[in-house]
Symmetry: C2
Subunit: 220 residues, 2 copies
């Protein structure tokens, strides 16, 4: 359920034109990284603003946006397993997932039947982890089962991708090197800034130096 | 005028007993320094809190508290000048300052007359800069002149010390190394934490990780 909520929070980015002024206005990679707080937030600054970036939410957005972009372009880079990943499900779920085989392939996930209650996952999208696809298949099976086959795959894609993203990315509580933090911010520039506007769980919180100065009584 | 306001903000610490529980409760030097923001604030954390420390206000408190402590103990470490510092004032100010020579000495400032409109400063408190004592003498002369000699020195000491501190310490807009930030926090431990409680211009602003997590929607 948390995954569904998360998908709604993330939202599928609206196809919108980014004006040149918007694209030059802000780049995550222009932020100067100051440090990591609570092994959860990247602290950074511009010339006049202080940023806290939620490392998990930020990475999640990056992976999610990449999946959505590739999906729309009909090309999700896949990695094939040398040895297929064998996953057990209730028999009904296996049947439902196999019936949705083609839809899963569009999402970069290739499955074969390996037994009445076993699926063999032969490839997954490059940008996600095994753990991400396992949780996504469980979620997908759950939805297929609940909606008795009439499930609209298109509507579910953001949910599935959000689940994959959430379970594939850097977590809170993970120490990041300065290089890793800089790299994450750079990756955030791959997508229009507009798609990162906070709705639901915010990726970042910022405060102007002027505002901070006021809190410290530095200015009137 | 800013100096007077500042003195009131700083306040003379009340002689209070610090219970053992208070002294073990919090040490500035236990903060883990994360970085410096806007060349003005030290960013730091404990296990569960995020701190922004105003480097100027913090250093000001340290110098001010040291001056007050030494003054109360009747021993302000002085540095004597090889060549006295020569300062020009209106003749009336020179006379007033010389009349208050003894009080100035208690504050660590030794002056001699060097001319009708000139004072020679032969020593100043160790913890302050020349620029600090110049501004303090100007302020003191201004007060002596305004209160026509009936000026109560005792009442003015905090003002003078605050002025000395303010003009002697690290400013906002000055890059600090990690070592310098750690050293400043260590110096803040020389005095009871209670004397640093924010009145007027706060030395620090803190926020719990739990609060930050809530702002990011990480917890309900």
């Amino acid at each position: 359920m948390e995954d569904l909520q998360r998908a709604r929070d993330l939202e599928i980015p609206v196809e919108e034109e980014t004006s040149p002024s918007q694209t030059v206005r802000f780049r995550w990679s222009d932020l100067q990284v100051l440090g990591q707080m609570a092994q959860t937030y990247i602290l950074a600054q511009t010339d006049d603003e202080f940023y806290m970036v939620d490392q998990h939410a930020a990475h999640e957005r990056v992976v999610f946006e990449r999946l959505m972009k590739n999906f729309k372009e009909g090309k999700i880079p896949q990695q094939s397993f040398l040895l297929p990943l064998s996953l057990d499900f209730p028999q009904e779920d296996v049947e439902n997932l196999l019936a949705a085989k083609e839809d899963l392939e569009k999402m970069g996930v290739c499955v074969e039947q390996a037994g009445p209650q076993t699926l063999a996952v032969t490839s997954i999208p490059e940008v996600i982890k095994e753990s991400g696809v396992v949780r996504a298949l469980e979620l997908f099976a759950e939805q297929l089962s609940r909606e008795s086959g009439s499930f609209a795959v298109e509507r579910a894609i953001a949910d599935i991708f959000a689940s994959m993203s959430c379970h594939s990315v850097v977590r809170a509580g993970q120490a990041l090197s300065k290089e890793e933090m800089v790299s994450l911010l750079e990756q955030m520039d791959e997508f229009p800034f507009s798609s990162f506007c906070p709705h639901g769980r915010p990726v970042y919180v910022k405060k102007s130096f002027a505002q901070i100065d006021r809190e410290f009584g530095r200015t009137l």
